[in-house]
């Protein structure tokens, strides 16, 4: 409903694009205006509003999603390039077993204030911790450098990521031992 698409008002059929892709493990077949970005699609067509628009130019990271295993600013990904892609948003990631320690650590370390950057920050943290089991400070700072936060000074966020890494490793060890 938000940003009711061009389809109703302005656009001809030739201006629409058909896409067939996966979002949070659900296959989606959609016809959307060809100038839509991935962010428009997830927010306005799929009503997944966890990803935010902070700049619309790929500069702030508030719309970060995981696309085919890599971080991507959803606001820069055009609809026409989406078919066959595998997308994960905060709404899908938060349900994953290995995301729980991250969410818990963000709560326990008060790693959120206004919260506008937070879903993107959690997605980037999740991606980081799938890449590195025990990231170094340098890897954490690099891994989150595409996500701007104006409230926290990043201190509590970095603490939370470290704590989550520790917890994930404990869980993995327990899993192996069991």
């Amino acid at each position: 409903m938000p940003n009711k698409s061009f389809s109703a008002a302005n656009l001809e059929l030739k201006d629409m694009v058909d896409i067939d892709f996966t979002v949070n493990s659900v296959r989606r077949v959609l016809r959307v205006p060809c100038n839509y970005t991935l962010l428009d699609i997830i927010r306005y067509e799929l009503k997944l509003t966890g990803a935010k628009e902070g700049c619309g130019m790929g500069e702030c990271g508030a719309c970060t999603v995981i696309m085919d295993g890599a971080l991507a600013p959803a606001c820069l990904v055009l609809a026409t390039t989406l078919s066959g892609r595998d997308i994960w948003t905060i709404e899908g990631i938060k349900e994953k077993e290995d995301a729980k320690p991250i969410i818990d650590a963000f709560i326990a370390r008060t790693a959120t204030q206004c919260g506008f950057c937070t879903p993107g920050m959690v997605v980037a943290s999740y991606h980081l911790l799938t890449k590195y089991e025990s990231p170094t400070d340098e890897q954490i700072l690099e891994g989150l450098s595409g996500n701007l936060c104006r409230c926290t000074g990043y201190v509590k966020i970095v603490e939370a990521v470290k704590e989550a890494a520790k917890e994930l490793n404990t869980l993995k060890k327990e899993g192996r031992d069991a």
């Binding site: 905060i90 919260g115 506008f116 950057c117 879903p119 700072l141 104006r150 409230c151």
Partner: protein
């Protein structure tokens, strides 16, 4: 060590998790752009392309022809009054005949899609007759060109203390003079300005991202032409404010409301980042001329200040912001002779207004730089010098305010020195800097601040807050307050205050969403006042309810009031914790005994007396204090600066939640570091050029600084549990201490902020040339 009394508190002073953490972390929190209504239109502002001129013609025809465009409104279409000025009536909602800054809204478009609205905004043809623009404070001051017919002075605050200032300087052992300039700072809340207006019950309802919903209510009522009671403002989750969502959202809400009112359809107006950067208010750029006289023993005996602030094209909040400047330009020091002039000036640039610190970080930077110069020149220790001049109980501020209580400044200075390991680091850095093979130079910088609590003498008449508490019959509690959560942690801290007073658990507490139809008008969520104001209003209500709960507990436990203690959801026998009754059972009992467990609270900020003519009296009832120490590293080859560590010692009275308090400080540090060394708003001929995040650069994790926060808890008698405010003080000392650290590393005092790498590089080269020359001699 904890005192006996502190031990008694069960949730105040404790690390409690944020009550709104999960919804923000998992993305389910609803910000205004996440809301939508059936049949909703999208709005876009049409802004002035020139900084100064007459509007000769507005042609809407091309825009209206575009498919999906519902309306293009201009000043002529306003159903109420075309005014938006929050303090002074000098600003139109939509420019009428004259434009005074590049970006000033002239028209507002509504269309079926955001894209159509954007396209239509570009098709509104405006013909201008350009006029000469006033683009800096010096030109504004000489008034060759007037921005407004009444002249260019927005306000002029004077502070006159002691005797003749020139005579005072003649008695100084040494006199130092320097002029400093400082650029804009942009709030850069991650969520841009936004609101959504719709017609409901013959009135207007506005949802949005606001710090001051009651300001928005007033602005909408004025613009549309409705009584206040027909305008309902409902708060969405706020993606950061920092002062930028104080008065400014009223402008956008009034425009969206006007469209909704005329078109009878919901209208959403979300600013894109470029437009937000162009039209929303900023921190005032200032030119500050300082003259400081010092005695041989290192006492400041005279201070003369002339600060010219660029207020931009309209007053907005300048008169209140610059009032604060006039209280804080001398820092937290005892100075017997003061002559200060703080002058706000109109220019044809974007209006400046509220930003965390409210007109103080600029002058703190200047004053603390002067102290750095003095200490370096006369060989004083930077901590001892500050202590030697520091405000303490019984001393007079530059406004002759006699400090009566809650003044932990000296303790913050001592703690900052100790906790930063200053003396050891200083020796290490001196050794490091002497080694020419090192690529970097390291420096330490100090800064102390004070900050007047609440709205003070200039805003006392709306410095009030209300509350409502309802205890449900199952023991869960609903709180209603008029100040908003914008990320600062207000909900958590207020829940802790209420839980402590009621004896319930934080988990039992829920908040009614801030809605002007429901919550009491509690003034603005600004001035670091929420903990004190809404906290006290909640205490007022909670104390009444606690009495009723206690009466019920007396009946159940068959004990006297003084034998019962309440905490963590239980009322129990002080001597035997096994004998208790739960909070929920007491609530149930009161319910069936027909005892009301719903009550109102109200709090008014302590009255202060102030003489505006000479700037003497009590500008604020009490102050927070802080001292910060920065460690910086400067690249000798590139001039780049990295802030490695900040140690911040804050006296904020009682700390309600140490985890949230340190989180506030860390955030303030990052914003201050950005302001000091990288955030550079470039304005050319009245046009802002840095309209994106790759040109207006804020700190990322790559600029990460370690932050050590320590607290001095000199309780304030008027604060809830002795608390004072922290939101703004967290940022205030940062710029000055960082610039002092860079200056100490580079061997010259930087007179302009931000201190960009180019300038540092130049300074290092100049110093090298000087050093080489002196070697040749």
């Amino acid at each position: 060590m904890l005192t006996k009394k502190q031990n008694l508190y069960s949730v105040v002073g404790k690390k409690v998790n944020r009550v709104d953490a999960l919804e923000k972390i998992d993305g389910s929190a609803r910000y205004v752009d996440d809301l939508a209504f059936e049949d909703m239109l999208f709005a876009k502002m049409v802004c002035s392309a020139i900084p100064s001129g007459r509007i000769k013609k507005i042609d809407k025809s091309r825009a209206l022809k575009l498919k999906g465009v519902a309306a293009v409104l201009t000043a002529a279409d306003i159903t109420g009054l075309n005014k938006i000025g929050c303090v002074v009536d000098d600003q139109p909602l939509l420019a009428d005949k004259i434009v005074r800054f590049a970006g000033e809204p002239i028209a507002i478009v509504a269309a079926e899609t955001r894209e159509a609205a954007e396209e239509a905004a570009g098709l509104v043809d405006i013909e201008y007759e350009p006029l000469e623009a006033v683009l800096n404070v010096d030109d504004s001051f000489c008034e060759k060109v007037k921005v407004h017919p009444k002249g260019n002075t927005v306000c002029h605050y004077k502070v006159r203390k002691g005797g003749d200032i020139d005579e005072a300087f003649s008695k100084s052992f040494k006199v130092y003079e320097k002029t400093f300039t400082i650029n804009y700072q942009e709030h850069l809340y991650l969520e841009t300005q936004g609101c959504l207006a719709l017609v409901e019950n013959e009135g207007i309802t506005v949802h949005g991202s606001f710090q001051c919903p009651f300001y928005v209510q007033g602005a909408v009522a004025t613009a549309v032409g409705l009584p206040l009671s027909k305008v309902r403002v409902i708060q969405s989750v706020v993606g950061g404010g920092f002062g930028g969502k104080e008065d400014v959202p009223s402008e956008y809400a009034a425009k969206a409301a006007l469209l909704a009112f005329v078109l009878k359809r919901p209208v959403k107006l979300i600013l894109d980042r470029a437009q937000d950067l162009m039209v929303s208010s900023k921190r005032h750029p200032m030119k500050m001329e300082y003259k400081v006289g010092v005695t041989k023993k290192g006492k400041i005996n005279a201070l003369k200040v002339r600060a010219l602030a660029d207020s931009g094209a309209y007053t907005t909040l300048s008169t209140v912001v610059l009032f604060r400047t006039s209280v804080h330009f001398g820092g937290p020091y005892v100075i017997p002779n003061v002559c200060g002039d703080v002058i706000g000036l109109y220019t044809n640039r974007v209006p400046c207004g509220a930003y965390r610190g409210f007109g103080t970080p600029q002058v703190i930077y200047a004053m603390e730089s002067m102290i750095n110069i003095i200490c370096n020149d006369m060989g004083f220790d930077p901590f001892e010098f500050r202590k030697n001049n520091a405000l303490k109980k019984g001393a007079l501020s530059i406004n002759s305010h006699k400090i009566k209580e809650s003044c932990g400044l000296i303790e913050t200075i001592d703690k900052a020195r100790k906790e930063s390991d200053y003396d050891k680091r200083k020796k290490e850095f001196d050794r490091w800097n002497a080694d020419e093979s090192k690529r970097t130079l390291k420096g330490l910088g100090v800064s102390s601040i004070f900050y007047g609590m609440n709205l003070g003498a200039k805003g006392w008449f709306f410095d009030k807050a209300g509350s409502h508490i309802q205890i449900c019959r199952d023991g869960s509690v609903t709180l209603c307050v008029g100040n908003v959560e914008m990320g600062q942690g207000a909900k958590t801290v207020l829940a802790q205050i209420a839980a402590e007073a009621l004896g319930c658990q934080v988990g039992d507490i829920n908040f009614t969403n801030v809605d002007t139809n429901i919550v009491p008008d509690s003034g603005p969520t600004v001035a670091s006042r929420t903990t004190v104001m809404s906290g006290n209003a909640l205490l007022d209500a909670a104390n009444k309810l606690r009495k009723k709960l206690m009466n019920a507990a007396v009946e159940v436990l068959k004990l006297k009031v003084n034998q019962i203690m309440a905490k963590h959801g239980k009322f129990y026998n002080i001597k035997d914790s096994h004998q208790f009754v739960t909070f929920a059972d007491l609530a149930k009992k009161c319910y069936f005994d027909n005892v009301s467990l719903s009550d109102m609270g109200y709090y008014v900020s302590p009255k202060v007396e102030y003489d505006m003519q000479n700037g003497q009296g009590e500008p604020y009832y009490v102050y927070s204090y802080a001292t910060a120490v920065s460690e910086v590293e400067v690249d000798k080859k590139t001039g780049e600066v990295h802030v490695n560590k900040m140690t911040c010692a804050h006296d904020v009275g009682r700390v309600i939640n140490p985890m949230l308090a340190s989180a506030q400080i860390e955030g303030g540090v990052a914003q201050g570091v950005g302001y000091a060394i990288m955030e550079n708003m470039v304005s050319e001929k009245g046009h802002i050029k840095t309209l994106g995040l790759s040109t207006y650069v804020i700190p990322t994790t790559r600029d990460f600084a370690e932050v050590k926060s320590v607290f001095v808890e000199d309780k304030s008698k008027d604060g809830p549990y002795g608390a004072k405010g922290l939101g703004e003080p967290s940022l205030m000392p940062v710029v000055a201490s960082v610039v002092n650290a860079i200056s100490n590393a580079a061997g010259c005092q930087f007179d302009h902020v931000p201190v960009l790498p180019e300038r540092v590089w130049e300074a290092l080269n100049e110093k090298k040339m000087r050093d080489d020359e002196s070697e040749v001699r």
